[in-house]
Amino acid sequence: MTDSPPIALQGLSVDFLSAGEPPARALRDVSLTIPPRSIVGLVGESGSGKSTVAMAMMGLLAPNARVGAGRIDVGARRIDCTDGAALAGLRGRDFAMVFQDPSASLNPTFTIGAHLHEVLRTRSPGATRAERQERAIEALRTVGIDRPDARMRNHPHELSGGMRQRVVIAMALLARPRLLIADEPTTALDVTVEAQVMAEIVALRDQIGCSILLITHSLGLVARYCDHVSVIYAGEVLEYGPVAEVVRAPAHPYSADIFACDIEIDAPRAPAAADQRFRIIPGNLPSLRDLPAACIYAPRCRKAVPACMAGHPALLPLTDEPERETRCILAR
């Protein structure tokens, strides 16, 4: 598996349509490279479009979303992101997902066991009920759930948030995807539970050898768990590179700003605290309905020069560090 090619997302663009208004260009030319067995962080504030990236890759966007362009390379296949049926074919086989809110992500009227069986029904259609049962219990045990055979008969509301998130991780374990997309998997959980759940996600990677796309607003999680990081702002990737390099010497002023703040750039669970910290970067997100032909971050950037307003910069490799990419013209 180590020698398989990376999973690559190329040139994804998504618009959100609403009646009587120009479309909101939520994602523009987003590209990501996710090497085998690595954990890539996709970090950005709320509204930056990071969850939209996940939903577009899964083909689960809201009905008012239009995918303009984009493709995904998985193994030897090349999937067109505008082809909903092709994306549906990836779900549960090549891609799986862990969601932000474990209290809502399991069906309240079905048992834990029913959820796990359903994953296996898709993934291993030939297995008997008894085989599925055995593998489901084994998966629960692997993700650290006590008395897994009893838990199979429980309903979601009988489990804590952390436990429910482990159940979803167990579903991912049974799906054995090439890529696990974890969309803010610990945002809704206590800090103490966060470390345990992240440990289970890493353990999952180690066991089935998948790659992980970790979508988060938490720079702490990125620094601790990710190999690569992609910094997304207002629907554009501004910087991509190995975490250590990006943290040490950010190649985009936006990355530098958020890393300098050394705080979570947004914390939806604690709006009051977040409010005070938001002001550290003055200005607001640009309107996605009316974008300038300029660097998207220039209006808020401390280092902006007139050239920044002259044209829209592309995401290009750094000259002396070709593994890293940035949109900032000053870094070249």
Partner: protein, 322 residues
């Protein structure tokens, strides 16, 4: 499991209390009518012998609380006395026609579910489609047309214009095909409104569930769309639908009263109506008591069914009781 039994037991107990309360209310309403009890219950046919037997049965010479206890104890045992017109025990007469009324109410409920449910589900799967918009308009029209009006219109069409279905009676006893044929028009008349109502409710409920995160989870794991909708979205969407069924049955039994009169069908409605016309309130009172019993029982059954579908309900009920 014992916890679930405790909840069921508690629900049955409150149901029984409600029935006792309803019978008490009925008693008070009867006693509130000016005049003596015998002439209220038996109308112009009251004789001194009847008056004497009632005084003994109901303790009309005793204080009010004693009368209430006597009234309750008779009602609870199903002893409603004798129908002064036919001379038969009232309970026997009620039990004789109760199956007709229940068959009508339940077949109307079944028909409403059979048609309303799939219509609502189809509309929810394709919101905004032509079928959805047609259903949106149609359901309001169906809901707002009173069932007795539908019954009259059906009678009009089938008795005057066409001659397809029998329009009167309940059919020959012992001939199921004939009985079924006699059931079709009154059932349709009663069901029409609830078809519209259930279609709307199912649509709204399923749409809400389909937008929930757990549906997205299953899709993310590649579960086929038909399984997502028919198995995993439908069950939580059923919760509000099941919750309304008790009320539906009560409404249908009430509506059956009119359908029975219009289609000349023997049942609780015709029995009670004829009793009112002949000022024989003892029969009305007994019929009302039996209907309340059926209605409260149906509501208990619905609550238990809700608990079976929605596991959270079991817990909240238990916690609320603690």
């Amino acid at each position: 499991m014992s916890e679930a039994l405790g909840i069921i037991w508690r629900r049955v107990l409150t149901g029984a209390l409600t029935v006792v309360g309803a019978i008490t209310l009925l008693f008070l309403l009867i006693r509130f009518v000016p005049g003596d009890l015998a002439s209220i219950l038996y109308g112009p046919r009251v004789t001194d012998a009847l008056r004497a037997s009632l005084a003994e049965r109901m303790g009309t010479d005793q204080p009010l609380p004693v009368q209430l206890v006597l009234f309750l104890s008779h009602a609870v045992r199903g002893d409603f006395g004798i129908n002064v017109i036919s001379g038969r025990p009232i309970l026997d007469e009620i039990l004789g026609v109760l199956p007709n009324t229940l068959a009508l109410a339940f077949s109307a409920l079944g028909l409403s579910l059979l048609i309303g449910f799939p219509l609502g589900a189809l509309a929810a799967v394709r919101p905004g489609s032509l079928a959805d918009r047609i259903l949106g308009v149609l359901s309001v029209v169906l809901i707002t047309t009173p069932s007795f009006v539908v019954a009259i219109l059906l009678l009009l069409v089938f008795s005057l214009a066409l001659d397809w279905l029998p329009v009167a009676g309940a059919g020959t006893p012992g001939d199921p095909v004939d009985q079924l044929a006699h059931l079709i028009l009154p059932t349709t008349a009663l069901a029409v409104g609830w078809i519209g109502y259930l279609a709307r409710l199912v649509r709204a409920s399923l749409l809400e569930v389909l937008a929930e995160a757990h549906v997205r989870t299953l899709r993310a794991y590649g579960v086929p769309e038909w399984r997502v909708i028919l198995i995993y979205a439908l069950r939580p969407a059923l919760i509000p639908v099941v919750a309304i069924l008790g009320m539906a049955l009560g409404d249908l039994i009430g509506g059956a009263l009119f359908a029975e009169l219009i289609f000349g069908r023997p049942g609780l409605g015709t029995l009670a109506y004829n009793a009112v016309v002949s000022r024989n309130f003892a029969v009305v009172q007994a019929t009302t008591t039996v209907i309340v019993l059926v209605y409260v029982t149906a509501n208990i059954a619905v609550d238990i069914l809700s608990g079976l579908i929605d596991p959270r309900f079991r817990r909240t009920e238990g916690e609320a009781a603690r």
